[in-house]
Symmetry: C2
Subunit: 251 residues, 2 copies
Amino acid sequence: MKKKTSFKEFLLRGAQLYMPCLSIDCVIFGFHDGQLKVLLMKWKDGDNWCLPGGFILKEEAMDDAAIRILQDRTGLNDIFLQQFYAFGDPYRDRNKDRLKIQGKYGKWLMERFVTVGYYALVEFSKVSPQPDWLSEECKWFDLKKVPKLIYDHNAIITKALGALRLSLNDYPVGYNLLPEKFTMPELQSLYETILDKPLDRRNFQKKALSLGILERTKERKTGGAHKAPYLYRFDKKKYEKAMKQGLKLGF
Amino acid sequence: MKKKTSFKEFLLRGAQLYMPCLSIDCVIFGFHDGQLKVLLMKWKDGDNWCLPGGFILKEEAMDDAAIRILQDRTGLNDIFLQQFYAFGDPYRDRNKDRLKIQGKYGKWLMERFVTVGYYALVEFSKVSPQPDWLSEECKWFDLKKVPKLIYDHNAIITKALGALRLSLNDYPVGYNLLPEKFTMPELQSLYETILDKPLDRRNFQKKALSLGILERTKERKTGGAHKAPYLYRFDKKKYEKAMKQGLKLGF
DNA sequence: TCAAAAGTGTTTCGGATACACCCATGA
DNA sequence: TCATGGGTGTATCCGAAACACTTTTGA
């Protein structure tokens, strides 16, 4: 099912290829310009935005399916990916009128689906959003400016954000959302954005450094209008070691 | 699909009644004799213990399906129920030999299933475990003495326990696991059991009372060999109010 | 009368919070 | 030169943890 697949073929073969009535939807978070972003797609035949999603191959692990979908959409591998909830309301995806025109071949797609939500944390700058053959566009939206999406996708994003907030206390999310080198104010801005509340600059720095997984480089970020801040990077070894134990932060 | 359903009829009609390739498994926790318990079932034709589970009717909400399964097995309604993870390894339920004898009618059941895990907290004394028509026995097991279960059910229990531990910090689980009136040592024992670590008696009491959702009755629990402890109950109104805000405990 | 459990209060400590001063930079 | 943002250190406070004495009860 790579690039050259036509929509008709997808409808025809889908029932053989995929597990029935089960889908995956991905909430892909990125961080840019002090804003938390989500990657959304737009169907070819309409102006409905939605979450990037897909189906599970009959012999494929669900997590692998999520990874595959993520790779297709972002071009990235080695992505931080976390399952957060399964959405099983029977009416969650009623309104498949758009697809009805496809007739009997798409029957499997017209069934009620349960979808499993995954959220991903990706480095904004490394992603070049790639629409698939079903979609006309794929781009980042500011989390606060997400339009009305199809089905229950808005609710899925809300739930994903809740899960992300919870995971702040256990995982150093900056490692996945920021470029290799970043300044302390950038890291703080990330946390403030996710939590949607201001944090004290000095206390934040203390807490961030106290984990012992950050390394200050000798470089500074120049070009800003003011004092040049240091650049930090994650110490991979210490990061992974800390990861295994769990961090027990507290924001 | 009530009591009188035969296994053959279940196999025959299942494909029409249920969503395909999707199941629900419930980890039902109870507390008794200072031990955390799980309710397990045993198939009729073998000595395989497993989690109580079931399927989702085609027009049924997934949460409702879980509630239905719980009610069937425990006789209780108004149960604390929480979805915690969807298990999607393609090999998680390989080994359906037991069912193969049923031939072509059970074909739908032989497919690969993704299962959604729910955990439930129930009041041990109120439950009279009820085997269904598929199972010969249904009874409580001490969590530390759970036998080897079918498929990945042991892993599901482990994951459920992890989720339960996390939820300790947000929800007063005692409300669901203890009888209406209980002593402070009983409440503490519950927490110690779930967390698998000892807690300081005096600090525990302070923390428990500080939530303001417990009410001390004038009764004491007599019959013990020592000083009679007070009986407490949850103040329903304050409990629900606190519930909405989230508790932010910390154990 | 004694061992074991339960009720209660005080001290201590550490992490979180609040807060102030100096430095670098481009406008 | 000055407004703005960045780097760093200290005082304070509150909640968690550690801890001791008294009371009740059945054996």
